[in-house]
Amino acid sequence: MNAKLKETILNPIFKGNPITVLVLGICSSLAVTVTLKGALVMALSVIVVCGISSLILSLLRKTIPGRVRIIVQLVVVAMMVILVDQVLKSFEATYAIDKQLSVYIGLIITNCIVMGRIEAFALGNKPWPSFLDGVANGAGYGLILIIVAFFRELLGSGTLFGIDILNRFGYVPNNLVILPPFALILLGCIVWVQRSIQKDLQEDK
């Protein structure tokens, strides 16, 4: 694997993370991080939608009429979102989680990460790197989702993946952690940690 491809994959995970650096996809990261299971399904859904939409649009990139390219992108992304939703609804194991995530699966279409990466990367690059870029951005988004959901489920419900961790020691679940504002506070803390590690993100005084 060449260095450029490696950069395509690794950059969105940490250095150019879509949530903490590009500040995209904030809305859903506040909404679906109450439980780890929900966050995990959401992360996988975004990875699939992002990766495959990027692949399809990169394959089509030379044929898409410039004036309607956003609409064409929208049609392809919407198709992928509906497909993911339909598949989640079809399996017993994922049906309940699809119900729990309710509108947020459908709202992946409005997640700026998906259209942003297609517009910025997939339309100007070959299919394979575009696919990797989509998957990596989905993974970068998913990573933050899972970190946030880990703390929110542990402190808000005392469980992880629904399995009791803290409650058996007499922990009283903190209701504030369940509410969306706490996710924003946690996100702020993650950005803080990342900026103190990655000094080049800090603005000049």
Binding site: A31, K62, T63, I64, P65, G66, R67, V68, I71, V72, V75, V76, A78, M79, I82, L83, Q86, V87, K89, S90, F91, E92, Y95, A96, K99, S102, V103, L179, P180
Partner: protein
């Protein structure tokens, strides 16, 4: 190739939309059977929740197959009635009404342009003595529906569970997510005699105000979710009004047995029905439900 040509643009967008639509239609058709099975199991778990067979979380731990089996075990009788309270037909096996079927009947109850015939609404009687009926209506963003269960007296609400398609998370979605909202329905008595069968209002109303036995058919609405609360109120009014004749006809004639005063006007009907009355009364004592209720009133 000139991709900015008008004809090219129109042909290209048409083609891509047709291809995507065809693909989605195909996928939707091939997954429909699985989705319907999941939806049916979900409907059953919502009805069982309403009939107090456990919390929704407990019932959701069962597999689809177990949910269907539990329903088959616990259902005593299920049938379809018209709005006059007459039984139209029996529901055999595990036959439940999906939200889509409820939507059709919702149009029929309301009448108007979308009605496809007379309303045929289901009644589910469970072995624990509770009767479950569905409700359906419009929330703020999409349909809302749910199941209300009645105690054996066909007058007191034993439990309720509501679901929605796209109400706002944290506000309107509380009709589904907030067990304390659903718990408010327990013990309420809808006023089947009036058009305003049930109310969801700010503040609710105290139960048994001044110790009198006024009908308590009001509960507290959800703060910040006025439209969803109003939608749910309207849905409950519409559907319970459609069931009113059935519930009134099947309420045990306990006024005849227990409360002589209320009985005076209806004396003849009472006499004829006396034996049934006695039987019903004993049955209630046997179950402990009726007895418990008496104590409650005295307190």
């Amino acid at each position: 190739m000139n991709t900015n040509n008008n004809v090219y643009t129109i042909v290209y967008t048409t083609l891509i939309v047709v291809v995507v639509a065809a693909l989605l239609a195909f996928v939707s058709q091939s997954l429909k059977e699985r989705q319907d099975a999941n939806e049916k199991a979900e409907t059953i778990s919502q009805m069982l929740t309403s009939a107090q067979y456990g919390t929704k979380a407990e019932l959701d731990k069962l597999s689809n197959k177990d949910k269907l089996a539990k329903y088959a075990d616990e259902i005593e009788k299920a049938f379809v009635i018209d709005t006059e309270g007459n039984v139209v037909r029996e529901l055999e096996g595990v036959d439940v009404y999906s939200p889509k079927a409820l939507k059709r009947q919702n149009y029929n109850i309301k009448g108007g342009a979308n009605a496809t015939g007379t309303a045929e609404i289901p009644v589910f009687k469970f072995k624990n003595g509770r009767t479950v009926v569905p409700i359906y209506g419009a929330g703020l963003w999409g349909p809302i529906w749910g199941y209300i269960s009645f105690e054996a007296d066909n007058a007191t609400i034993a439990g309720a569970y509501f679901d929605h398609e796209s109400e706002t998370a944290g506000l309107g979605a509380k009709i589904k997510d907030d067990p304390s909202f659903q718990a408010e329905f327990v013990g309420e008595k809808p006023d089947f005699g009036s058009a305003n069968v049930f109310d969801i209002v700010k503040g609710g109303a105290p139960k048994e105000a001044n110790g009198s036995s006024v009908l308590d058919n009001k509960i507290d609405a959800i703060s910040g979710a006025t439209m969803t609360s109003q939608g749910l109120d309207a849905a409950i009014d519409t559907w319970l009004a459609a069931y009113a004749k059935y519930f009134q006809a099947n309420a045990p004639a306990k006024e005849c047995c227990g409360n002589q005063e209320g009985c005076e006007g209806n004396h003849e009907g009472c006499e004829g029905d006396h034996e049934n009355c006695e039987g019903g009364h004993e049955g209630m004592h046997g179950e402990g439900e009726g007895h418990h209720h008496h104590n409650h009133m005295e307190e």
